[in-house]
């Protein structure tokens, strides 16, 4: 069986859609093979992962004052 022809654009679309999910179909295997040999797509894959990680790492902490204001509004301050 011939391997499906894969272009960088296909890889980008597919990676975006399936990042973190199982890649088992013939098309997915062809994508994996393409990814292994294409620096462009490796960079794209890495930067998509980094994008997610940047936003995961960006957290804020609720201040004690904001917590107190919340409890007061809810009538739960003792």
């Amino acid at each position: 069986m011939n391997k499906p022809e894969i272009a960088c654009k296909d890889v980008m679309e597919h990676i975006c859609e399936n990042l973190g999910e199982e890649l088992e179909s013939p098309k997915c295997n062809a994508i994996k093979a393409h990814l292994n040999s294409c620096t462009n797509c490796q960079n794209y894959f890495k930067t998509i992962e980094d994008t997610i990680q940047f936003y995961k790492n960006y957290n804020v902490q609720l201040s004690e004052n904001a917590h107190q204001r919340l409890m007061e509004i809810l009538g739960l301050n003792q």
Partner: protein, 187 residues
């Protein structure tokens, strides 16, 4: 005490149980609100509205879904309503042609996610980039990728089909990646 027991006690008027539920979720709700609004004052306001809604409706909570899912739904709806009532912000295109056709920009980045802590300039880049993403796409990206909810849970919260969630997620990821690429790529 188990969450289901806390909810039962809160429903029967136990203020300590209610207080504990609020304490268990206040940071999650505040953080998620901030991630959508990118503004601490609006995030605090959304958090207050969300817990006021919890107090008002706790007796109707049947436990069919997780309390966290219910809270994410209230925050998402509240934020979407805020965006609809706010002056229009022009969001950038999410067309396939714009999102996936720029192979010239496929370069590595100068900075990695571990460098985020206390990096004010990078935080400004992240805030600005996500502000350019339409809110209904932003919420999908945040629920699925940042909060780690499943596609099914995200579809339930946003009242969208599984296919619509997947499609929006895939565009949101590509859009944000392209926005960050403008600032973070090696020249």
């Amino acid at each position: 005490m188990e969450e289901s027991e806390l909810i039962k006690q809160a429903q029967s008027g136990n203020k300590k149980a209610l207080e504990q539920l609020v304490k268990n979720y206040e940071n999650t709700v505040y953080n998620f609100s901030f991630k959508i609004c990118r503004d601490k004052e609006r995030a605090e306001n959304t958090m207050q509205e969300t817990f006021l809604s919890l107090l008002k409706n706790i007796n109707q909570f049947k436990g069919d879904s997780k309390l966290s899912t219910w809270l994410y739904t209230v925050v998402s709806n509240h934020c979407l309503m805020m965006f609809r009532n706010a002056p229009r912000h022009a969001h950038s295109s999410l067309d396939d042609e714009d999102l996936f056709n720029d192979e010239s920009k496929l370069t590595d980045w100068t900075i990695s996610p571990v460098m985020l802590t206390e990096n004010k300039e990078l935080k400004e880049i992240l805030d600005k980039s996500i502000a350019n993403l339409a809110p209904d796409y932003r919420i999908i990206f945040l629920l699925r990728d940042v909060e780690g909810l499943s596609t099914e849970e995200t579809a339930g919260i946003t009242n969208l089909s599984i296919a619509a969630v997947k499609s929006r997620l895939h565009r949101a990821r590509a859009f944000l990646r392209n926005e960050l690429n403008k600032s973070l790529k090696y020249e």
